[in-house]
């Protein structure tokens, strides 16, 4: 039933085939298609001649341009480093006070540090650096290990409870779990510590007096007689209103009963000295801005 018909609309002939009512016109392939085929194929051919393209047995056609991705990226990376070398070297070698005096260096810091902080620190300390439970705020001027440039640089370099050999190390012992304090005693200490930082407490004077004794026996060695903390040991000040884990009854009970040992990664090897210097200056400024 090969009957060729002419389609009245287009004037083209059908192929004479028919499938369940479907027919096909035998229209020529439009010229524009042949042009497109020609252009794309010629373009591909030129590209193959110029660039690495076809595999041979043990090598490949390298192309007339001698273009090599690997070489090019190495060159670009080296060039990018070269552009930054002047000021990054200065940052890596000068002390923080001198960097602060240098407006040009500080403008590099201002441009670069926010995204460095965003990519490396914000994940734990928050985009606004205000921290969260277990992750200290960096804008409250309450420093565990010190807020001077040298102290921050060192914390960044070695981390806290990190696998770095020089890592800072700190542990809040689990006073309840290890039976140093009974559960009622832990509660007394909670009341006492809350009273130190001026939190409202309903505890009686006797109870607070008992807490003072327990504190002196168990806590003062790290947190100090005056509970103002010890930055050599990373022991927080308990008389201010800054809390790493929280200052309410339940959280403080958990802290004293079960202990705490947070950690911060060591950034040496992951960030350069210059990058750590930028972060140091940046978070110092953040704290100052927040303090104002």
């Amino acid at each position: 039933m090969s009957v060729r018909e002419r389609d009245p609309l287009t004037g083209h002939e059908t192929t004479g085939h028919e499938w369940n009512g479907i027919t096909e016109l035998n229209t020529r392939v439009p010229r524009v298609i042949w042009w497109a085929v020609g252009i794309t194929h010629v373009w591909a051919l030129i590209y193959w001649v110029l660039m690495p393209a076809w595999p041979l047995v043990t090598t490949y056609t390298r192309g007339l341009l001698g273009y090599d991705d690997q070489e090019r990226v190495e060159r670009q990376v080296a060039a990018a480093y070269a552009v930054r070398t002047d000021w990054t070297t200065a940052l890596a070698t000068l002390p923080a006070e001198e960097v602060r005096q240098d407006a040009a260096l500080m403008s590099h810091v201002a441009r670069t540090a926010p995204s460095l902080f965003g990519d490396n620190c914000a994940g734990c300390h928050g985009a606004d650096a205000a921290g969260g439970p277990g992750f200290p705020s960096l804008v409250d001027n309450a420093w565990l290990w010190g807020g001077e440039a040298e102290a921050i640089m060192e914390t960044l370099r070695v981390g806290i409870n990190a696998p770095h050999p020089d890592s800072r190390w700190a542990q809040m012992p689990a006073f309840g779990e290890t039976d140093i304090l009974t559960r009622p005693q832990v509660r007394i200490v909670v009341d006492y510590v809350q009273s130190l930082s001026g939190l409202e407490t309903v505890a009686t004077q006797e109870r607070l007096a008992e807490g003072e004794i327990l504190f002196a026996e168990n806590c003062a060695s790290c947190h100090g007689e005056d509970a103002a903390g010890n930055r050599d040991l990373g022991a927080p000040n308990l008389t201010d209103d800054a809390w790493v884990y929280g200052g309410d009854d339940a959280v403080m009970f958990e802290t004293i009963h079960n202990g705490r040992q947070g950690w911060m990664p060591a950034w040496e090897g992951r960030l350069t000295t210059a990058e750590r210097m930028m972060l140091t200056l940046y978070i110092q400024d953040l704290g100052e801005e927040a303090g104002r």
Partner: protein, 550 residues
């Protein structure tokens, strides 16, 4: 439906489902304490269900119909209903995971509801569940009509359809349990892969046998595409899933390839899954249902030939464009890029052939939403193939790669092309299969069309904006030669587009739900009407044989 099978076929169904149930039992026993065991139970229950259906009809009387005088459409009908089921599930999952990206709390902190597990349920649900079932169902339909021959066999179509859905079920439930090969679109583990190979070989044999029975001297274009889809998907699936199981009692295997070879194999598979699953098969659908609905001859047979061979030849080379600027040697990238650009011509030739076919039928496009679905699908096919070739160019890819632009591109193809041609074809074929006058409500088809169009456009524009913003932010340097934006800042910038995407996806999903409802109501309440000719006719004489018993 069981009673339309002959007694020997029912016995065959009983034995087959019994064997699959037994395989499920073995899987359950071997995989105790492992997700593989759960898959054993799922297989057992699934096959057990089929077995019960076969058992209940075992003593039914022999069917009286003259089989040669009608097409075998029962598997097609079930396939279409399954496609609609998976459409709602898969697109629903898509909306959920899209919402998770905008509002992470929607993750609900359960392991199974995490983004990484739900996303493959969405992708597999849509591609394989919806797309696969639509392809299998329409291929059965189209092959019979264009060959004027009944399906070769009554058991194997069921085996293909149900076996494929068992695979989809095992795949989706596995993702929720964390079972994955970590290969995109090839996530299911080794036993599911082996099962799919069996199903697919049966599909291929069934297709070839039916084609061999044809009463037409020539093979219609649609069948070339369906055949390419079946054949090449088998090849891709087998090669990319070559793996060594860590043990025969657990859902864990190691790929036969390593490193960059593994990546190249995966993207040779991945891109050709797009080519031969999501393009070739659906072009088969387009080539049948569009001229049928428009009642116009195909614009150019010669163009069909050119684009078919162009598509099957060039696509196979293009996969490496997924790995630009990686450890993959540059010459492989060059080949992927240049072949992708040359591929544009046959792709546009196909889209053009479809749109030119509508010449003389544009008034129907205006009035008939079903045909408009198909027209728009061809337009989106043209758009997304252009975009694909464009993004395959290394310079463009250096901006677009790893960004939401890729996601937008995939969805322009999946929503605009694959889903629209499927829905158009479903609306065209449902009244015919169920012997109805028309769809239950043309207004609902119309609203589905506009919801789908609005959803796709919102989705794609949101992802273009998001992706280009993201790509530009990643590569922006300060005057100091350092990165200007942190990663988090790029996320904040993308969030409005993520919300827009949820809206676009929800509109599209709403359309699919309306479509499923409309099909359901068509089957339940639309008026009866037998078509004039919808049965095989002899090859020599064109006069109809005795019409089939309804």
């Amino acid at each position: 439906m069981m009673t339309r099978l002959m007694a020997t076929e029912r016995q065959g169904a009983l034995i087959l489902s019994g064997l699959v149930a037994l395989a499920g039992l073995i899987l359950a026993a071997a995989g105790r304490g492992d997700p593989m065991g759960v898959h054993g139970w799922i297989t057992l229950v699934f096959a057990g269900g089929v077995l019960l259906i076969a058992l209940r009809a075992l003593d039914a009387p022999e069917p009286t119909e003259d089989r040669l005088a009608s097409y075998y459409d029962d598997p097609t009908k079930v396939g279409i209903l399954l496609a609609l089921f998976w459409a709602v599930v898969g697109m629903g999952m898509g909306v959920w995971v899209a919402a998770q990206l905008a509002w992470p709390e929607l993750r609900f902190d359960a392991p199974w509801s995490s983004f990484g597990r739900l996303r493959p349920v969405h992708t597999s649900g849509v591609i394989f569940g919806f797309g696969g079932n639509a392809l299998i169902a329409t291929s059965f339909h189209v092959m019979q009509r264009t060959s004027r021959a009944r399906l070769a066999g009554h058991l194997s179509p069921w085996f293909v359809l149900l076996g494929f859905n068992l695979f989809c079920l095992v795949a989706a439930s596995g993702y929720l349990m964390g079972v994955t090969q970590s290969k995109e679109y090839a996530e299911p583990e080794w036993y599911a892969d082996i099962w799919l190979v069996i199903v697919w070989v049966v599909y291929f044999v069934l297709y070839m046998r039916t084609l061999a029975r044809r009463n037409e001297p020539h093979i219609y274009v649609a069948n070339w595409y369906y055949l390419a889809f079946i054949l090449v998907v088998a090849m891709l699936h087998i090669v990319n899933n070559l793996a060594v199981p860590a043990s025969f009692g657990a859902a864990k295997s190691y790929s036969a390839f390593a490193g960059v070879q593994d990546a190249m194999t995966q993207w040779w598979y991945g891109h050709n899954a797009v080519a031969f699953f999501l393009t070739a098969g659906f072009l088969g659908m387009l080539y049948y249902f569009l001229p049928k609905r428009a009642e116009r001859p195909i614009y150019s047979y010669r163009l069909s030939i050119l684009s078919f061979w162009g598509i099957v030849f060039f696509y196979i080379w293009a996969g490496s464009h997924h790995l630009h600027y990686t450890a993959l040697p540059q010459w492989v990238q060059t080949l992927g890029m240049t072949f992708s650009v040359m591929l544009l011509v046959p792709s546009w030739a196909s889209a053009g052939n479809a749109l030119m076919t509508l010449n003389g039928a544009w008034h129907k496009v205006r009035d008939d939403a079903t045909l408009r679905f198909m027209m728009l699908a061809a337009v989106f096919y043209g758009l997304s193939t252009f975009e694909g070739s464009f993004m395959a160019v290394r310079a463009v890819n250096s901006l677009s790669h790893y960004t939401d632009w890729t996601v937008g591109h995939v969805h322009a193809g999946a929503m605009g092309w694959v889903a629209l041609i499927s829905f158009g074809s479903i609306y065209a074929v449902v009244p015919l299969l169920w012997r109805k006058e028309a769809m239950y409500s043309w207004k609902l088809v119309e609203s589905h069309f506009w919801l789908a169009l609005a959803g796709t456009v919102i989705y794609v524009f949101a992802m273009w904006n998001s992706g280009i913003t993201q790509g530009l932010m990643w590569r922006t340097y300060t005057e100091s030669g350092t990165l200007a934006y942190s990663f988090t800042e790029t996320l904040v910038a993308m969030r409005p587009y993520y919300i827009a995407r949820v809206i676009g996806g929800a509109l599209f999903l709403a359309g699919a739900v309306i479509g499923a409802y409309n099909v359901y109501m068509t089957i339940r309440v639309a008026g009866h009407q037998a078509p004039q000719i919808d049965y095989p006719t002899g090859s020599e004489a064109n006069e109809p044989a005795v019409p089939a018993a309804e």
